[in-house]
C-alpha cells in the first residue's frame, strides 16, 4: 500500500528507522521528531494500517508502577524496507525540478 510521505510522516519513519532494534512509545517518538504526540498518533495509525509498524501495549501493573501502560511502536521488517524506499523516493528531486534546473543552466 502506497503511503503519502508528508514531512511529518518522514520524521516519524526516520525516527523509527534510527532505532531498528528498539521500541519507541508515543511521547518518546514525539520528542525524537519534535512533533506533538497528537500529531504523531494519526501517522502511526496510518503506518500500522499499512503494515509498516506494529504496536504493543506495555505489560505492566499500572498500580504497581503508578503510571498508565505505554504503547510501544516498532517497524516490521517489511515496513523498514518499504520505509527506506519511500524515504529515498521522497528525497529524490522530482523530474520537473531537474528539468527546470537544466533549463536554467542552459540559459545561464
Amino acid at each position: 500500500m502506497a503511503l503519502r510521505m508528508t514531512v511529518q510522516t518522514q520524521l516519524v519513519v526516520q525516527a523509527l528507522l534510527r532505532h531498528p532494534d528498539r521500541e519507541l512509545y508515543g511521547l518518546e517518538l514525539a520528542e525524537e521528531t519534535g512533533l506533538l504526540p497528537g500529531t504523531a498518533y494519526p501517522i502511526l495509525m496510518r503506518l500500522e494500517d499499512a503494515g509498516w509498524v506494529i504496536r504493543r501495549p506495555e505489560d505492566i501493573d499500572p498500580h504497581e508502577v503508578k503510571r498508565p501502560p505505554r504503547i510501544y511502536y516498532r517497524l516490521t521488517a517489511h515496513g523498514a524496507q518499504q520505509a527506506s524506499a519511500a524515504l529515498a523516493a521522497a528525497r529524490r528531486p522530482k523530474p520537473a525540478v531537474l528539468r527546470r534546473l537544466a533549463e536554467q543552466e542552459g540559459t545561464a
Binding site: 506533538l36 497528537g38 498518533y41 495509525m45 498508565p68
Partner: protein, 196 residues
C-alpha cells in the same frame, strides 16, 4: 461505472434527497439569521463574534451601499442547492461507498483543517478528548485513550496544555482514520451486494 440495482438507486435518491432538503432548510434559516445579525445594530457585533465577518456593522452597510447588486441572505442557497444536486447525482450514479473511498485523502486533509481551526478557537480541555473517544469505534477507543493517558501522565505540567491541544487538533483526522476502515469494508459489501 458501478450501476446500482433500481431499488437501491431509488433508496439512495430518497436518502440524499432528504439530506439535501434538510441541508437546504438549515441553510435557509442560517441565511436569515446571518442577514438579521449582520444588518441589525445589536446583531453586527454578534455576527463578528461568531466569525461570520470581521467587519463592523457600519463597514458592512458602507460596503453594501457601494455595491450595485448587494447580496441577499438567501443568495448562498442557490449555490448550496447546486452543490447538493451535483453531490446527489455523483452519489446516485457512482454509489456512496465508491465516492467516499475515492475522496479518501482529500477527506483526511479536510478533517485536519477542521481540527486545526477548532484547536485555535477554544481553550484546551481534556473533556473534549473523552467526548471524542466516545465517537470512535470500540477497538480504536481503547487505544486512543491509552495513548492520551500515557502522554498526559508523563508530560510535565507546563506541556500538558500543549499536548491536549495537539491531540484535539488531530482528533477529526483520527476519527476519520478510525472509521475509514470499517466504512470502507461496509461500502465494499454494499457494492458487492448491489452488483448481484
Amino acid at each position: 461505472m458501478t450501476v446500482l440495482r433500481p431499488w437501491r438507486r431509488i433508496w439512495a435518491g430518497v436518502i440524499f434527497g432528504a439530506a439535501g432538503a434538510a441541508a437546504l432548510a438549515a441553510a435557509w434559516h442560517l441565511g436569515r439569521l446571518a442577514g438579521k445579525l449582520g444588518t441589525s445594530p445589536a446583531g453586527g457585533p454578534a455576527a463578528c463574534y461568531l466569525g461570520m465577518c470581521r467587519q463592523t456593522t457600519r463597514e458592512i452597510e458602507q460596503e453594501l451601499a457601494a455595491m450595485r447588486h448587494p447580496p441577499r441572505p438567501g443568495d448562498g442557497i442557490a449555490v448550496l442547492a447546486f452543490m447538493i444536486l451535483m453531490a446527489g447525482l455523483l452519489m446516485i450514479t457512482n454509489a456512496a461507498g465508491q465516492v467516499l473511498c475515492g475522496l479518501g485523502e482529500h477527506w483526511e486533509g479536510v478533517t485536519a483543517t477542521i481540527g486545526r481551526a477548532h484547536a485555535q478557537w477554544q481553550v484546551p480541555a481534556t473533556r473534549d478528548l473523552w467526548l471524542l473517544a466516545a465517537l470512535m469505534p470500540a477497538g480504536q477507543r481503547e487505544r486512543w485513550l491509552a495513548e492520551i493517558l500515557s502522554a498526559l501522565h508523563e508530560a510535565g505540567p507546563g506541556s500538558r496544555r500543549q499536548i491536549i491541544r495537539g491531540f484535539r487538533a488531530n482528533a477529526p483526522r483520527v476519527l476519520f482514520l478510525a472509521w475509514g476502515a470499517p466504512l470502507r469494508r461496509a461500502a465494499r459489501r454494499w457494492l458487492r451486494a448491489s452488483r448481484r
